[in-house]
Every structure is written in structure tokens, then in C-alpha cells.
């Protein structure tokens, strides 16, 4: 029989691991037209649950509420495809489990030419607000300026959809999107991909309790071993950790 | 400040007694050393220039304004903080602007207080209200709203509404001065018949015809003080103070 390793005291609500998810980011997490959760992170959670012998509940919420909710002990962690970074890893136990990079896309009916990231100098680029890509673009623009190029005009929108809307309306010249989102859009014929593979970074889950994080790490590792891990990433056209790299908590976690 | 306690023997005859009453608004003294006794069944008319304290006096009698000094008795009950509800029950008040409740029908206006305060059953309250509306001759308007009545009709409803609480003393504050001239008469007739039935009434009014015909005494006020208390013949025929002479010359064109 299945014996749960996670003790009741380690959970916010005994009996279930509650992870927040912001389903506005296909194919990682989104809803279909019935409102049912779909995407890689959803299926990962479904796989993890039996392996830790504890049900996983996905709590759908908007991003700004998530970190306070974890800190306040309203939920056990976040499973919303958040990028790893230093600061976050000091506040939460971060578990990187996949790799994403960024792509520049342009409207398919416009003749905008972007051959490399440096071509973005002096143009208007749309990104999602408060996102890794926004931060990356800001830093990159500063770098361009330091090299004597024109700065990038960064326009940040609430969701990837809003970014796309602005792109299609001609309000920005190009958009910087997570590559999986970019691929989805390209498939739908709305945009052309111009540059890809920028700013590679690791998607992570995040937890408030170390025991929970460790249990999830173990579950992910066993998925890596039995091939479920690769199968899921392939299904959604996303990239897992490089072969041979085992899932682990990265960073010090909260003190 | 005098504090005369009414002697038990005569108190039974007094409906309203004021002893050295003062009322101040901030620095301003609206009533100054007012002494007044109204006997049961008596009708007194209060007149005087604007701002002389007529409304303030009458409002002190039912506690709408709290007097600052002196003593007020209504039917032997002293007006104190603890007694104010009791005293209110002894009095009924009719205002210049009628102050009917505009969102209720005439009948609802008249049954509200008996039902909610006296806990009278609706049927009984409605029968009483209809009887009183008949008495003031507006019974056929019972289902209408105040705004559908003429001013004179509204004021008569206000009188009926006050009577429904069976007050011992009726207070009137310029009950006819907001009325069209033609409507004044019907309200004065109603008040006259009330007086004739023995109701104790205190009436602020400039209707000198009414004062002459109906009142037992006329009180003339000026600057917060009672200047004259006279039988109407004496007051109109031969006012004592210069101020009263001037006043009478101005209001009788």
C-alpha cells in the first residue's frame, strides 16, 4: 500500500498538498473552453500525487496573490511554471524541473525583420508584466545601451494574450514570449518566430516546507527513472532538464 | 433662579406650567425668565415678532428643545430627562409645514403612532383614525398621499394625526401661515371646534381674528421674554408696551 512520507504537520491542510497555479500560460497550464485545467504542470501534478501518496490540489489564482499566500501558510507551494532565481530561492524551496527559453515573434502579416536579439534595439517590444522575460529584456536593453545601441522600448501587458493582441494591432513591433507559448501561437498561424533560444532558464516549483519539497523531488526523480518525465515533456513539446541531471532543491530555501 | 414647587391643591387645574425657564443657543438666549401657567381647557395664543422665541417656547413644552434652566410641568409631570417620554405623550404638536410623512397615505400617517407606540391593533387604530379624519372633514382623502391634498387638507390631517395619540395639550406652531388664504379658514374652524370641545391649546399664530374670537389669553413675546399676557380684548384694544403697539400696527394692514 501507499504510505505518505509527508507528515500532516508539514502541510497547510492535512491530507492534501495545495499548489497554486495561474492557468493563463499554454501549454504549461491553461483551461479549455469548459474551464478544465490542462497542460504540462497539471499532468505533472497528477503524476506526482500517487507517488507521494498524497492528493495534490491545484488552487487557481492570479500571480500577485501567490507568494503572500505561500508565506501566510494558505497554500503549500506554487506549480505555475515560475522561473528560478536567486531571490526566490531564498524565500522558498525551489525545485527546477524543466528548461525554457524565450522567443521573439512578429506578426505574420508584417514585414518586420528581426534576425538577432540585437535587432530589437530602438524598437517596441511587448512582454508579459512582472515576468522573467520582462526582467531579461530590461537587462538586455541596458546591455545594448552600454554597447552604444538604442534602448528597447519595453511595453508590458497583463497576459501573453494581451501581448499578442498588441502585436497584432501593430502597437508593438515584436513580442518576447516564452518559447512554448510562441510555438503555440505559431501553430495557430498568428505570428512568425524570428529569434529563439534567448535567456534560457529553469522552470521551478516552489514550496514553503522542506519535507514537502523533498517528497516532490523524490517523485520527480522516480518519473525521470521510469520515463514518464520525458513522455510528458514530449507530449507538450517542452524541454525537460538535460539528460543525466537529477531533480533537486536548488538554493538555500527560507532560513 | 426660582424653584417654586406647585402646591398640590392647584396643580390639578394646570395643564402647562413654566417657571423661570431659560433656553440658550450658544451665547444667544432665546428664552429668558419665562413664567407661564396654562389652565386645563384654556386656549392661549402666542404672538410676537419673528425671532422673539415663540417657536422655542412651544418646543420646550414637549421637549423638542431641552430647556436650560427653570421648571416645566405638563399635567403635573415635571419635564426632566427621565420624564421626557411621558411628557411627550401628554402633548400633540402641529407644525407650520404640516410635516406629514410623504411616503405614507393619510390613513397610514394617522395609524403609525397609535400602532407602534400604543400597540393598538390595526383595526382599532384605523377606526380611530377614520373617526378623527371625519371630525376634521377629510375622511374621503384617507387613501391618498399627502402630496395629493391641498395645504388646508394636509394641515387638518396633521391635526387628526396628533389627536390620534389622545394628547391632553395641543401645541400649534403657525399652523396656517404656509396656507393659501382660502384654506386658512377651514383649518381655523377645525381649531376652533377643538377649543370648544375643551382641549387645552397653545397656539403660535398671527391670525388675529382667531386670537380675538377663540383664545382665552394672548401672550406677546419679544426678545425671548413674555412682555404681556392679556385677555384678547385688552391686548388688541389697549396693548401696554410700545413694542406690542408697533407689532400690531405692522401686522394689521
Amino acid at each position: 500500500a501507499c504510505v505518505a512520507e509527508i507528515k500532516a504537520a508539514d502541510l497547510v491542510t492535512p491530507g492534501s498538498v495545495q499548489l497554486s497555479i495561474n492557468p493563463t500560460n499554454p501549454p504549461q497550464q491553461y483551461v479549455d473552453s469548459d474551464g478544465t485545467l490542462k497542460g504540462l504542470n497539471v499532468e505533472l501534478a497528477n503524476e506526482i500525487a500517487p507517488r507521494i501518496c498524497t492528493p495534490v490540489t491545484l488552487v487557481r489564482m492570479d500571480f500577485p496573490g501567490m507568494i503572500p499566500a505561500v508565506k501566510a501558510g494558505r497554500i503549500d507551494g506554487m506549480n505555475t511554471g515560475m522561473f528560478w532565481n536567486e531571490e526566490r530561492s531564498k524565500i522558498l524551496f525551489m525545485v527546477p524541473y524543466g528548461v525554457q527559453s524565450l522567443s521573439v515573434v512578429v506578426a505574420s502579416d508584417k514585414n518586420v525583420v528581426v534576425k538577432s536579439a540585437a535587432d530589437l534595439a530602438g524598437s517596441a517590444v511587448g512582454v508579459e508584466t512582472n515576468s522573467y522575460q520582462e526582467k531579461w529584456l530590461t537587462t538586455y536593453s541596458e546591455k545594448l545601451v552600454a554597447e552604444g545601441a538604442k534602448p528597447i522600448t519595453i511595453r508590458a501587458f497583463k497576459t501573453a494574450t494581451d501581448v499578442t493582441g498588441a502585436l497584432l494591432a501593430g502597437q508593438v513591433d515584436s513580442a518576447l514570449l516564452i518559447d512554448s507559448v510562441a510555438h503555440t501561437l505559431v501553430e495557430k498561424g498568428r505570428v512568425r518566430e524570428s529569434v529563439t533560444g534567448l535567456g534560457e532558464n529553469r522552470m521551478s516549483m516552489a514550496f514553503r516546507n522542506k519535507a514537502v519539497a523533498e517528497a516532490v523531488v523524490k517523485a520527480l526523480a522516480s518519473m525521470q527513472e521510469d520515463g514518464t518525465y520525458k513522455k510528458l515533456f514530449d507530449k507538450f513539446g517542452l524541454r525537460g532538464l538535460p539528460a543525466g541531471q537529477v531533480v533537486a532543491i536548488v538554493g538555500p530555501g527560507p532560513q | 433662579m426660582k424653584t417654586v414647587t406647585p402646591s398640590a391643591g392647584r396643580a390639578g387645574e394646570w395643564a402647562v406650567r413654566m417657571e423661570a425657564v431659560y433656553k440658550r443657543f450658544g451665547d444667544f438666549t432665546a428664552l429668558r425668565e419665562v413664567d407661564l401657567t396654562v389652565k386645563k381647557g384654556e386656549t392661549v395664543v402666542i404672538c410676537g415678532p419673528s425671532g422673539s422665541g415663540k417657536s422655542t417656547l412651544i418646543r420646550c413644552v414637549n421637549g423638542t428643545e431641552k430647556h436650560d434652566d427653570g421648571l416645566i410641568y405638563v399635567n403635573g409631570i415635571e419635564m426632566t430627562k427621565a420624564n421626557v417620554d411621558k411628557v411627550r405623550r401628554e402633548t400633540g404638536m402641529v407644525f407650520q409645514n404640516f410635516n406629514l410623512f410623504p411616503h405614507m397615505t393619510i390613513l397610514e400617517n394617522c395609524v403609525l403612532a397609535p400602532m407602534s407606540t400604543l400597540k393598538m391593533p390595526r383595526k382599532e387604530a384605523e377606526a380611530l383614525a377614520m373617526a378623527l379624519l371625519q371630525k376634521v372633514r377629510v375622511e374621503d382623502q384617507a387613501r391618498k398621499f399627502p402630496s395629493q391634498l391641498s395645504g388646508g387638507q394636509q394641515q387638518r390631517v396633521a391635526i387628526a394625526r396628533a389627536l390620534a395619540m389622545n394628547p391632553k395639550v395641543m401645541l400649534f406652531d403657525e399652523p396656517t401661515s404656509a396656507l393659501d388664504p382660502e384654506m386658512v379658514k377651514e383649518v381655523l374652524e377645525t381649531m376652533k371646534s377643538l377649543a370648544q370641545e375643551g382641549m387645552t391649546m397653545m397656539c403660535v399664530t398671527h391670525e388675529m381674528g382667531f386670537a380675538r374670537e377663540v383664545s382665552d389669553r394672548v401672550i406677546f413675546m419679544n426678545e425671548g421674554q413674555i412682555m404681556e399676557i392679556e385677555k384678547p380684548e385688552a391686548f388688541f384694544g389697549n396693548p401696554k408696551s410700545e413694542r406690542a403697539k408697533l407689532f400690531l400696527s405692522q401686522i394689521i394692514h
Binding site: P26, S33, G35, R60, A72, T159 | -
Partner: protein
Amino acid sequence: MHYFNVDAFIGYLSNWFLIGGVGVTVALTVAGVIGGLVLGMGIALLKVADARPLNWIAGFYIWLFRGTPLLVQLVVIYTGLPQLGIKLGAVESALLGLVLHEAAYLAEIIRSGFLSVPVGQREAAWALSLGRGTAFWRVILPQAFRLMIPPLGNSINGLLKATSLASVISVEELMRRSEMLMQEQFLTLEVYAAAAVYYLVLTTLWDLIQRPLEKHFGRSIKKGGR
């Protein structure tokens, strides 16, 4: 380029996930208004009471809850209160936040409604020996309410849209669900247009309530003139 996809728009108009969101929006709004009216009434009464300290308390409440964003209030209730041992669910937190916020606005509306009832009405109630409660519920409030209806309409229209902020604490109403649905097909304008239609239907429903209310409470008031 074919920009607005009419078929998709019509599809969204009959999407049950969105319609469920309409239900949440309506429920939050109705609860917010009713709770806000009750609490706002209390605050308005404190604000016009005869005791200075009570006035100050009410003034402070209005200043604080009208002056800070609903979003912040929601996050604090959902994640700050548990630090004090008060742990409310997402829906309860959303309701509490909406009620506290709305009450501050409604208190001002109610107060100006009270002030518009002529003092003569209070004096008449007093002179008739009506109890405080009867005077308030039967005499003052029905008259004040008549004048409160139009600003109440403004406020309800605002609240209908403000409920969308509850998505930050995981309550999914119409707007949030619209934004989620967009990700599937990236049909921004079509989904927003459908959401706008739902909101317009709700607004129109309110208008249908407001008109008879105005009529009912104004039925005894003379037309025209002043």
C-alpha cells in the same frame, strides 16, 4: 486580415464556463451590496451620531477603506489576517473585502440620503412619540432611500466590475474566466466582447430593478416643479 471572429464571439456568448463566472460575479456583487448596505448604514449612523468619538471612528473607517485599493485589502485579508489567527477561505475573504470596501462608499451615499430628509420629519416623529427604531425604519429610511437610488446605481455598476479583483485570491468570476479562456485561442477581442455583453446584461437587469424602485419610492412625490 480577418480580425474579429464573429463565430467565436457567439460561441463565447454561450460558453458555460463564462456563464458560471457571471454567476460568481452576480453572487459577489449582490452579497457585497447587501453586506455593504448593512455595514454602511451602521457607519453612516455613527458618522451622524451626536458623539464626537463615534464620528471620528466612522470618518476614519471611510478614509481608510475608501482610500486604499480593494486589491490590497483583499490580499491583506487573505494572507495577513491568518497571522492574527483569523483564517478565512478565499470566498469568505473576497466577500469580507468587498463588504468592507463597499460599505465605505455606501456609508457616504447613505449619509447624504439621511441629510436630505427635512428635519421637520424627525421632529414630527418625535412629537408623535414614535420610538427611535420606528422613526428610523418607517419615517427616515424610506425617504432617504429614494434619493439614494441613483448613486447606488453608480456604485453597483462599479462593484460589478470591481469583483474581478477577487481573482488575486483565487476567486474566479467573469473577468478572470474571460482572461483564462483567451489563452486557449488568443481571441482577445472576441472574449472581451462576450464579457462586455454579459456585463451589459447585468447592468440592464439592474436598470430594470432601479426604475421600479425609483417609481415606488417616488410614487408619493409630486411631479415637476420643485
